[in-house]
Amino acid sequence: MKYSFPVLLALIAIPAIAENARVLDAHEHGVGELNIAVDGKTVAMEFHAPGADIVGFEYAATSAKDRAAIDAAVALLAKPLDLFVPTAAAECSVIQAGAALESEEKHDEHDHEKHSEHEAHKDHDDHAKADASHTEFHAKYTLTCGNPDALAGIDFPYFEAFENALELEVQIVTTSGAQAFEVERDRPMLDLRGVF
């Protein structure tokens, strides 16, 4: 009964998980993630970075100065072409861009409705309670590129904008497969020739 044993375990476990799923994402200071998906002329990007990389702190913002720092960072993150610059010849422009701060609390403090709010990227600042241990900035962008074949690389002024960011783990998915890259502060560029 090799197969039904895990099933039994799962049956026991499911009610417990449904009540409070204690799940946390990976969180490494200095390292952000950028996922890029390319399909024809559309480029979708997702960005995640620890609060420490972007604003230098991860406690809940209480002072006016901290709030201003977060607002400024969110405003900056909402302009992807100032942070991640594709080859000019690819003629990329922003269709949709949004950024927000999300607190990495233990998920069991929320019920699932609130969790799904997390996913929907609504007012995350409300969740940034005093007991939050980590915060993350999330952003989603949709670009359209008039000449996607000319996309030969991406420059990352991102590292100039955010001094605490050291590294970005970039994953690129196209119709021909997935590849991962590491872009570091020392060499803030990505060569995409050979990816498409």
Binding site: I17, V23, N35, A37, V38, D39, A44, V173
Partner: protein, 416 residues
Amino acid sequence: MILRLAIGSLGARALTVAMTVLAIALSVALFLGVEKVRTGAKASFADTISGTDLIVGARSGSVQLLLYSVFRIGNATNNVTWESYQDIAARPEVDWIVPISLGDSHRQFRVMGTTVEFFERYKYRQGRGLEVADGALMSDLFDTVIGADVASSLGYDVDDPIVVAHGIASFSEHKDQPFRVSGILAKTGTPVDRTVIVSLEAIEAIHVDWQNGAQVPGQSTPPEVIRQMDLAPNAVTAALVGVESPLQIFALQRTINEYTAEPMLAVLPGVALQELWAIVGVAETALLSVSAMVVVTALIGMMATIFSSLNERRREMAIFRAMGAKPTTIMGLLVLEAALTAAIGALLGILLLYAGLIIAQPIIDGAFGLWLPIAAPSLRELTVLLGVVVAGAIVSLIPAFRAYRLSLTDGMMVRT
């Protein structure tokens, strides 16, 4: 003039020179051969799975999941419940999904339960599909399709009966339900060659009379009864997923990774392969540096030969001097000789490599599923060859300088 002298001088010492040339040739062939195997292995590796957007399994590590579900090596990952599998299959982003169920074996080969869609969706080497070399795909509950290596090493033909064992290398075999080989796949060079493929229902059927890993005594359900039973699977090991558009991959991956009912993991095969290669890459660098050291050893051997030849050539050098050759000419002659030796060695090395490749290519492909392409030397390889010649010339500078000093002091009469 000096070139003619150098060639003539090498010709006069043909045997010693030939040995040196051979040593350099072998070392160069070894170095370039390692490089070929390295790049070939990397390409073969990366070509094992293509066309699949996500591999989904129980939460483990991306490399572990990839190794177990695609390469069928390493530690088994947990199973995923059929309910969760169906939840994922029902997601709007999912274009196609193929389940994989592992855990049984036939002799030394893994048995994989899946659906017929696997044969259509599994792609390797940039989108090449699986082909049936002999027979047909499974049409009956007890039909199996076997990989090319399974067929050749066990000598199976279409319609042969086979018995599937419980677990891997198990002594308790499922004797009750004899399977039949319905088809044999063409050779792919992927782990599919070493796999016995059955339907998901067949995996359940094997386990009908089994409780907690042992057969219930006295209970043996005849195949006819099993056919009537509900054989819906309880669990699968992993699933290969294709999405409608690349734009949805990351969203689907996140949904699966954050699926609360069951801890699951979705990995991008290309990225997981890269991670795996980053680990293997250390051994690869070690291998390459060892073969580089062999080249260095051969060059030092050449230097030793030149040194030992200096003494016997003192009279020759003295005659050159008497005929008006400058000490620098003597030095140049020796360096030129060494560079020529290294160049001949490098050329012979690359000839050896190609001869070896032509002979070994089909053998390596058959034995390891590793395809080494025979192509014109790459820029990198040509650089290596040029490097060997230059290194040979540089190494010879040391004995040449000694010859230069000797030729200054020695007169016609060589005092020994």
